[in-house]
């Protein structure tokens, strides 16, 4: 329950504070969000399977986000930022769908 409250609090803060994204972070924030969603769904699946470990979650969350941003950053340096962004989004999207499918099977048995 506490993580859910944290999520809600973060959303409310982001809306209320009206923060402008710095232009240097601008290209990486969407990727970071997608990576975080992937980690979140992974954690939810692990919770349902009874193998959730907070340390694993924190490490995977942070490393997922940092790795995704790093890949896009390197891609920008190499001039293939757009393509690598697409690649990262595709991979993370596949993982998200996989995790979502697992969660659905666990909760609904179908």
């Amino acid at each position: 329950m506490i993580p859910v409250l944290g999520l809600v609090a973060g959303i409310v803060l982001g809306i209320v504070l009206d923060v402008t994204v710095p232009s240097s972070v601008q290209p990486y924030l969407p990727i970071a969000v997608v990576a975080a969603m992937d980690a979140l769904l992974g954690a939810l699946r692990a919770t349902l399977e009874g193998v959730f470990d907070d340390r694993v979650f924190v490490v995977s969350f942070v490393s997922n986000v940092l790795l995704a941003m790093l890949i896009v950053f390197v891609g920008d340096l190499l001039g293939v930022g757009t393509q690598l962004t697409t690649a990262v989004v595709v991979v993370l999207g596949i993982r998200i769908f996989t995790n979502a499918a697992s969660i659905r099977r666990l909760l609904l048995g179908a």
Binding site: M1, P3, G10, V33, L40, E49, F57, L107
Partner: protein, 253 residues
């Protein structure tokens, strides 16, 4: 997977996870999820700025479209400015033409006697103690004034009897004595008021054998006075010409 989970187990675990019970490591997860929510929120509120998230190829395409649009708008701007300058020039031309037409109207009005005129000139008082001044003598004085460049002439003879002298004004003797000018019966003394160069007019009247001399010889008395400002305000009624019509210009220009 170490634990092959069943649906019931999974639901129980979800319920436990969502309970208010503070589980191990939930605070850390809460912080990370808070960060995620924060990022999503600011990304969404920032999403109005489409350009900042567009790819380079999209930006190039958008820029090209803007360039084309700019060219079109600039061409339209030039066209409209040209139209505006044409209209302004046309307005200036017509204003100048209108002013010129007004000036000509004033000139013609003075010449035709339909407009009051003022300016320097002479006033000629012709007294007729013996009743011997005829219309010919008055006409002679008017002709002298015209020859000397008088631009507007009126003759006053008696109370409220004043006639603007124009090219077609007739002069005639009245059987009862006195002079008819422009079909208005005048009685002496006659006061001729002429606008023109005062010196020239006075000199023209005073030449030997001229108008003044002939009137004086006939028994009249003439008094010529220069005036800095005369008002010739008697007006001539224009009549529409019955036969004469404006002739077309001889040549095209």
């Amino acid at each position: 997977m170490p634990t092959p989970a069943t649906t019931d187990e999974a639901r129980a675990r979800l319920r436990r996870a969502l309970s208010l019970r503070r589980g191990p490591g939930q605070v850390g997860a809460a912080v990370l999820l808070g960060l995620l929510g924060f990022a999503v929120a600011i990304q969404l509120t920032d999403a109005t700025d489409v350009l900042s998230r567009a790819s380079r190829a999209d930006l190039v395409q958008i820029l090209g479209g803007l360039d084309t649009r700019t060219d079109q708008l600039e061409a339209e701007l030039r066209r409209l400015e040209q139209t505006r300058s044409e209209l302004q020039a046309g307005a200036g031309d017509s204003e100048a033409a209108l002013a010129e037409a007004r000036a000509r109207l004033d000139t013609f009005g003075i010449l035709a006697g339909t407009e009051a005129a003022e300016g320097p000139g002479v006033s000629v008082r012709v007294a007729d103690p013996q009743g011997s001044v005829r219309a010919v003598a008055v006409l002679g004085a008017v002709q002298e004034l015209r020859d000397a460049g008088a631009e507007a002439i009126q003759i006053r003879g008696g109370p409220d009897r004043v006639v603007r002298v124009v090219a077609s004004t007739p002069f005639a003797d009245l059987p009862s004595g006195g002079v008819s000018v422009g079909d208005v019966a005048l009685s002496p003394p006659y006061l001729l008021e002429a606008i023109g160069d005062p010196d020239t007019l006075q000199t023209a009247l005073g030449i030997p054998g001229g108008a003044v001399a002939s009137i004086t010889a006939g028994g009249g008395a003439v008094d010529v006075r220069q005036a800095d400002r005369l008002l010739v305000d008697a007006l001539h009624e224009l009549t529409e010409p019955t036969y004469a019509r404006p002739a077309p210009p001889a040549d095209g220009g």
